[in-house]
Amino acid sequence: MANLHRFANPNRFLRFSRVILPWLAGITALLFIVGLYYALFASPADYQQGETVRIMYVHVPAAWISMFGYSVMAGASATALIWRHPLADITARAAAPIGAGFTLITLATGSLWGKPMWGTWWVWDARLTSVLILFFLYLGHIALSRAFDDPTRGAKAAAVLALVGFVNVPIIKFSVDWWNVLHQPASVSRLAAPAIDPSMLRPLLIMALAFTFYFLTLLLLQIRAELTHRKVRALQLAQASAQ
């Protein structure tokens, strides 16, 4: 708990994040260079899918991050509601647009892949539908958190919504097992050995790591921007009341 409250002080958090932000950004860039090299050049084309398989190296990490982002948002929301941690509210608010962006990337790359492979941009199967619902949950969260004149009221309402919408995350994860769908079942996170060749698993995992660091970099940037925004707002209010 002591650690949790250490960063409740925005200034301490700003100092801390200023130090680690360049590192995060650097690691992200490095991972992307290596990951994209493996994904685009140093990995074989699939025997069935041909070169199209390379879309997977963007699609799958983006999908993981879209769920990870929602989990971060829900966790931050729970922290905000239970411990009234001031940064948790800001984290949840900052994670929503980023998560929505990754979900959009997931949906877009998925349909780009689906057109040559399945012969259609979109099918209404459980996996695709639940990811689409995730996208709308993100949008609803963004709209709700900005719909009140009092920002703290918006943050609290959005926190409750984030927790309610969390039921969708396990549904996305297990939709391929529960329903008979067109989307392929999990092939990496299985109890047995992954059903994917090491030559393709390597770029996939590097790209997943790159996306994770990318998400963290963006999140930190967004939190800093939000903190600065609040400072500006407070200054403007002070200025207005002084006149």
Binding site: L81, T129, I133, F136, L137, L139, G140, A143, L144, A147, F148, D149, R153, G154, K156, A157, V160, L161, L163, V164, G165
Partner: protein, 221 residues
């Protein structure tokens, strides 16, 4: 427990003496569904095929219409704060409100459903299943919608916002409601769909009042 029934009675009295919200909702339900034969053409085979889905979708929208008023009037005149001070859990107050919403919205929709089923020429074997899915599904709509109503209390453009929040949550009910009817029409087993629909209701029944009460407490803070 008695106090919850008193609140339920109050809500029903208000609805009955009020401006006829239920009648407006049912009218919207029928009118919106009638637009579809004009939109897709009056061909009987198409209408029979899409009828169940149209009726369910329009029912979702109609159930959503009256959500905004669930807490708003009480919030504005201050009686909501009195209700939170009342010596019964806020969750029970919310549950009474949900029950009142279902009786004034869900039930009239179910009564009007056979009319639409006839207009769309649904196969006779689908009728009982359609009514059964509505009977199990519409309480879940009231329960989920209550969260949206509580969250948007005091928001700008609350009504539009409710739609954005609540419609994604309504999708599972829609999928399994229509799934059961399609199964009945094609002669497949209906039971699994109905069981999932019932399980949605059973899960929503304790969780939704809890979440909505939490949202209300935040709104009144």
């Amino acid at each position: 427990m008695n106090a919850a029934f008193v609140i339920l009675r109050r809500e029903l009295h208000l609805a009955l003496r009020g401006s006829g919200d239920s009648a407006t909702t049912v009218l919207f339900f029928i009118l919106a569904a009638i637009l579809f034969p004009f939109g897709v053409g009056p061909e009987a085979s198409i209408l029979a095929r899409i009828g169940a889905g149209v009726i369910w979708v329009v029912a979702l929208l109609a159930a959503m219409l009256s959500l905004e008023r669930m807490f708003l009037t009480d919030y504005e005149d201050g009686s909501l704060e009195l209700l939170t001070l009342a010596p019964l859990p806020l969750e029970l107050v919310v549950l009474a409100k949900i029950a009142a919403h279902w009786i004034t919205t869900g039930l009239p929709l179910i009564v009007a459903t056979p009319l639409l089923a006839i207009l769309f020429g649904l196969p006779p074997q689908a009728f009982p299943i359609l009514l059964l899915t509505m009977l199990i599904g519409t309480p879940t709509l009231s329960l989920l919608g209550c969260i949206g109503a509580a969250l948007t209390l005091g928001a700008r453009r609350g009504g539009v916002l409710i739609a954005l929040l609540v419609l994604p949550l309504y999708i599972p009910v829609l999928i399994f409601g229509v799934g059961a009817i399609d199964a009945a029409v094609t002669g497949l087993p209906v039971r699994p769909h109905l069981l999932i629909l019932a399980s949605l209701l059973v899960v929503a029944l304790p969780l939704c009042p809890w979440a909505a009460a939490a949202a209300l407490r935040q709104a009144l803070d």
